[in-house]
Point group: C2
DNA sequence: CTCGCTTGTTGGCGGCTTGTCAATAGAGCC
DNA sequence: GGCTCTATTGACAAGCCGCCAACAAGCGAG
């Protein structure tokens, strides 16, 4: 009789990726404790114990999924260093929205609740790191990466701004209460305002041109 | 010998509130599945089964906590209908920050991560409802409650704005990267910009005075 | 071709979790 | 005191998770 193996032996990376993909799907459609490791294993076509072997804990697997989702959309950073502040912010926002539009599914997944009760320090930290990377990228894109005066404050305000960017894209893509053009106008106007008026008012406006 | 009762019989509302308070505390300091109903019951000084009796499910108890946290800070809505738009937004933001500062703990708990993977439709919906109430309240406070033209869009933009408000208060209260005054300047300037420039540009600016 | 080694993978055990439900016992009322 | 109502308990069954010893896929050496 044919002795076909009962299971295939995969490279760790491969198996890991396979489980991770499955976890991404399940955690994407239901919340944490409505997904059991038993189901996770069954869907992955794998023994339950293997999940612990690769990720230690259901929770760690979950965090891995979050981490993966947050850091993926690293769109090309391109210097748009010419033009007025208004032009630069407009171009920057346009680029941002295009990327968001293109990675729609992924982006919606990372959006989640939009400021939740989560109260999960680990998730919180992952988000924060991702946000900071995004903020620095934004500073760079607008061509203010090497601002010295009030740099920390500017960065903090960009971080705040990104809270609005998330909420606005949600209005656009999920609720449909704003069009893309309206979001474009809203975000670029506000970003320009933050840089010129708010930051300018606080620290003088040497950085405007 | 003295026959003191082994447990006191309380009014349903009272017992409910007691458990809820305890749940608020525990869910506040640890994430969902790190809190067991056993612990919840022990801390509440109550049998485990009673939790199910009152809330049905651990998860429903959790959602109840979220709901309570989101809707509590209903600060007095006071018409600030005089002054320029700038003055009104400034006053409105000042009021907002004062309330936040006063209910610091509560607010931080509701803040959470600021746009998470949560992926919990129930929590999501609760947040959304709370946000909409807050947005309407904001419209009212600034004295634009009865705007007719582009009302839906204005509301959507206020909702987006509240994403920034949350992020900014986080920068201020948790990370300390902005002072309260800076947040005040940032938020009121941006809010005024949204109303006058952005909304004004889209729909004409009949509503400015 | 076979043996043997490495290590990816399994399967079941132990402890703990959660929802249910019949039984229990506060506390107000007559 | 006794009766009733129902808030509350406690134990039970099902299921979940982390652990770990045993198993076997696949590869290289002889």
């Amino acid at each position: 009789m044919s002795t076909e193996p009962r299971w295939r032996r995969l490279e760790p990376d491969e198996r890991r990726a396979q489980i991770l993909a499955c976890a991404r799907r399940l955690f994407g459609e239901r919340h944490y404790d409505a997904v059991s490791t038993t189901e996770l294993a069954r869907e992955s076509g794998v023994a339950r114990g293997l999940i612990n072997h690769y990720f230690g804990t259901k929770r760690e697997l979950y965090l891995e999924v979050v981490r993966e989702l947050m850091f993926i959309p690293e769109f090309a950073v391109e210097q748009l260093a010419h033009g007025t502040i208004e032009q630069r912010t407009a171009a920057s926002i346009d680029r941002f929205l295009t990327v968001v539009e293109r990675n729609r599914t992924m982006w919606l997944a990372t959006l989640g609740t939009g400021g939740g009760f989560g109260r999960d320090p680990d998730v919180e930290q992952i988000m924060q790191e991702a946000d900071e990377i995004a903020a620095d990228r934004m500073l760079q894109t607008v061509g203010l990466a090497d601002t010295t005066e009030g740099r920390a404050e500017l960065r903090a305000m960009i971080l705040s701004f990104s809270g609005m960017a998330k909420a606005a894209t949600r209005e656009w893509m999920i609720r449909g209460s704003l069009t893309r053009d309206q979001v474009q106008t809203l975000l670029s106007t506000v970003l320009a305002t933050i840089i010129t008026r708010v930051h300018g008012q606080m620290f003088g406006d040497a950085l405007l041109h």
